[in-house]
Symmetry: C2
Subunit: 145 residues, 2 copies
Amino acid sequence: MHEDLNDRFLKFLRDNGYLVTRQRRRIAEVIFNSKGHLSVEDIQSLLRQRKISASIASIYRTLDVMIKSGLVVQHRFGKRFKRFEAVREDWHHDHLVCISCNKVLEFKNDTIEELQIQVAEQHDFMITNHKLDIYGFCSKCAKKK
Amino acid sequence: MHEDLNDRFLKFLRDNGYLVTRQRRRIAEVIFNSKGHLSVEDIQSLLRQRKISASIASIYRTLDVMIKSGLVVQHRFGKRFKRFEAVREDWHHDHLVCISCNKVLEFKNDTIEELQIQVAEQHDFMITNHKLDIYGFCSKCAKKK
DNA sequence: TTTCATGCAAATAGTTTGCATCAAC
DNA sequence: GTTGATGCAAACTATTTGCATGAAA
């Protein structure tokens, strides 16, 4: 499963004239082996746990390449820093973001997706991607209040 | 129309123990008199055009208060800086963002809104707000390619 | 052995904050 | 007169970049 993503990334590197370096391989491994939405800090600490060294600069530069490969997407859930997420299979999804505990739930709704395509057509707009983030309180945090 | 927003903002200030200062009044005027999605830089230059002086710090601090008042919302269309938008009447809308010319079109789709509420219910999630941004190419930019 | 990636530190961009001064009430 | 807002400059955070060194092909 993540093997696949890893292989696809390595192939992307080779096919597009990028070097396959130790750092790129390891940063990719860490990201493809993690579920969810990683901050650069998360990635750093995952690397540290595995006793892998890679500078922040290399993490950012590798993330750029990964985004170009289409195997990773970027989020910015209202916060000032970015979060990164591996794109698994063809499963696109949107997010419910808890503004209290910062937990992020994923969901998928085909009707919403279709309606977006309709909206775009109506405005003669060519969609490349979209971000739908719903903010509020998850069930746990809602109860606390 | 923007008179209304202005008045509501001044009322909000008074009702919540904030001082009604020259800067706050003028920053609010500029924002309520502008359509669209203003960056802080935009706001600064609009103020400059009117020969009004206000420091960046005050602009940011006033924007915080305006957001608390609910009369302004914040966006972050994938970029690293924020954009601010006056909330007119009760007209909520979403955005089509051109990744080529950066133009932002607005749209409203009630069915999408309803479906979001359904999704939230299914996940026992209490919505406070949401952001749906569709990225791609506007008709002009799509033609150029 | 050439070319591209890395690591470090310095630079940048956007935003926030501390503090003395100033304006609102 | 008090209290809270302003303006300035300095601090901060996330991210990017320049450049000498090191690793990939």
